[in-house]
Amino acid sequence: MHDIADLERRGAVGVFLASEAFADAARLQGAALGFPAPYVLVPHPVQDRTDAELRAVAEEVYPSVVAAVTSSTPSAPA
């Protein structure tokens, strides 16, 4: 979250992925930082999954990840 906040400050569009266990933390920290850093949640847990399961997770969240860093309509420069 801090990384994305800073990377956006430096001009790179960002999103981070976290497991569902981090949902509250991510939301609260975004509010606390005063910056709505976009995030995409993946099902918890991660570390005990097989490679095939994790690849399936990646495929499942991929559309949300793309949506978080793109816009269907071009934004005006801030």
């Binding site: 400050r9 920290q29 509010a31 606390a32 930082l33 005063g34 910056f35 801030a78």
Partner: protein, 503 residues
């Protein structure tokens, strides 16, 4: 540090607010900016005390005997009620403790401060009060008029009249980073413009916070005294600087100054503020050693406040409307006072029609040194000035760019002793800056830049009439003066503007 008298104004006569506040609390009840529901004062005797005050301690048995409802400012356990956030004290306009009030039908009918047996007996209608106490004992200062607290109290509870949007910073946001992140700074840290600081800043002027000072380019936003104060806080100004900032904003937003064009140009220039009159010394401005440099708070912050107003209120940001190719460091801040003492010239603003406290804004683009350590007569010195002024922007471009000549005291002495005033110097320079057309034509000197061929006149003046300003500033030592290059002359460019500084 204690006690400028000015910081204890506007606390009297707030009793009427008590009733209106109660209506609001009972009507809505959701609080909003009113963090605490205001207490409902009972009829009968009400007192405000602080335990730190010996007179309050002295009258404690009297208050208990009277059965008064007592609010204590510093010790929540002393009496039944506490006023540690000082809201009640502020709203009642308590200046001294103890203060004893009598209230009937929800309104105050009598008040006395300190301890006086006769006055307390008269107010309460009870005889024989305070047996063993002296007849009279003065009270102590109320915490609600403490100079260190009054601004916060006014911002929180007072009718401070502030209407700017209140922005709550998130818990983990560093307050300085937060202001950068919102695009509100010039690249240097700013002082966070809290309501308390803005209230304090506004004490620097008698003008109403909602009075419109100017319509600020490029977005043409009506800028109030309050918005100038917010940006002055951010720039680091003191309240006494505010009137000068207000005048500078007014001057820079004048139509003939052409601020929008000045911002949008690819040229170097930005507003330079020159201050005249007794106000300069009174607020600690520098007109002497290093007058155009760093290190003086008033000079640095007044110029910066103007630039922050242009950025934040007007919307003039570099890379957006501001298209300067290179810019110049003075676009952060460029403000100085004219050295009126031992000047050969009348004050710049006075010569421009405004005597006394005034600011003049000039579209300036940086400092070019003028060295002449040998001239002992004004004719020779004027030739040095002319030679250096000729190269302003380009030696072959006449009447194209304005300039300001800042004459230092040692150069000024040569002029003063010869009796040369500003008009005389300008007349001499005008004569010396008639440039032979042949030298200016495109291609002459092997330089493509220049005037188109076919100019009818034999000579062309370097400066348009009024295109050269002359001021006096600097330290006692140094046979140097300075040229502050300007922007394009005339209708497409900027005309210097002078405005009175009002309290």
């Amino acid at each position: 540090m204690q006690g400028p008298a000015a910081s204890v104004r506007a606390v009297g006569g707030k009793g009427v607010l008590v009733g209106s506040r109660r209506e609001r609390a009972s009507g809505g009840g959701q609080g909003g900016p009113c963090r605490v529901a205001f207490v409902e004062l009972p009829d009968g005797l009400v007192a405000v005390v602080k335990r730190d005050c010996p007179t309050c301690v002295l009258v404690e048995p009297v208050l208990r005997r009277l059965g008064a409802a007592v609010w204590c400012q510093d010790d929540p356990t002393w009496f039944d009620h506490e006023d540690t956030d000082l809201e009640l004290s502020y709203r009642l306009g308590i200046e001294t403790v103890p203060t004893l009030l009598r209230r009937e039908n929800g309104a105050e009918t009598a008040r006395t401060v300190g301890w006086s047996r006769t006055q307390w007996e008269a107010l309460t209608g009870v005889a024989g009060l305070g047996e063993g106490l002296p007849e009279h004992r003065p009270g102590c200062g109320s915490l609600s008029v403490d100079p260190f607290r009054i601004d916060a109290l006014e911002a929180r509870y007072g009718g401070s009249g502030l209407t700017s949007r209140r922005v709550e910073l998130a818990d983990l946001e560093d307050e300085h980073e937060a202001l950068f992140d919102r695009g509100w700074t010039d690249g240097l840290p700013v002082v966070p413009p809290t309501p308390e600081r803005v209230v304090r800043m506004l004490r620097g002027t008698t003008r109403d916070p909602q009075e419109v000072v100017a319509v600020v380019p490029p977005d043409l936003v009506a800028c109030t005294v309050e918005k100038v104060a917010v940006n002055a806080v951010m720039a680091g100004c003191l309240p006494e600087h505010l009137p000068v900032v207000l005048a500078a904003v007014e001057a820079a937003a004048a139509e003939e100054f052409a601020l929008h064009g000045l911002l949008a140009t690819t040229y170097f220039s930005g507003p330079v503020v020159i201050v005249n009159g007794p106000v300069a010394a009174r607020i600690g401005m520098n007109s002497g050693v290093n007058a155009l440099g760093q290190g003086n708070r008033a000079n640095a912050t007044i110029g910066r406040a103007l630039q922050l107003v242009v950025r934040n209120v007007g919307g003039g940001r570099p890379g957006e409307v501001d298209r300067a190719t290179l810019g110049n460091p003075g676009k952060v801040t460029f403000c100085f006072a004219e050295r009126e003492q031992d000047s050969p010239f009348a004050p710049l603003a006075a010569d421009r029609g405004v005597s006394g406290d005034a600011v003049t804004v000039f579209a300036g683009s940086g400092v070019q040194p003028v060295v002449d350590q040998l001239s002992r007569d004004p004719e020779s010195l004027a030739r040095t000035f002319a030679a250096c002024l000729r190269v302003n922007a380009h030696p072959k471009l006449p009447m194209a760019f304005d300039a300001m000549l800042v004459v230092s005291p040692e150069h000024g002495r040569v002029l003063r002793e010869a009796g040369w005033d500003r008009a005389r110097l300008l007349a001499e320079l005008d004569g010396l800056l008639r440039l032979p057309a042949g030298e200016l034509v495109r291609g002459a000197g092997g330089m493509a830049e220049g005037v188109p061929p076919g100019v009818a006149a034999d000579e062309l003046p370097k400066f348009r009439p009024g295109g050269l300003l002359v001021a006096h500033a600097g330290g006692d030592a140094g046979l140097f003066s300075a040229i502050v290059g300007g922007w394009v002359s005339g209708e497409t460019g900027s005309v210097p503007v002078t405005r009175e500084v009002r309290a």
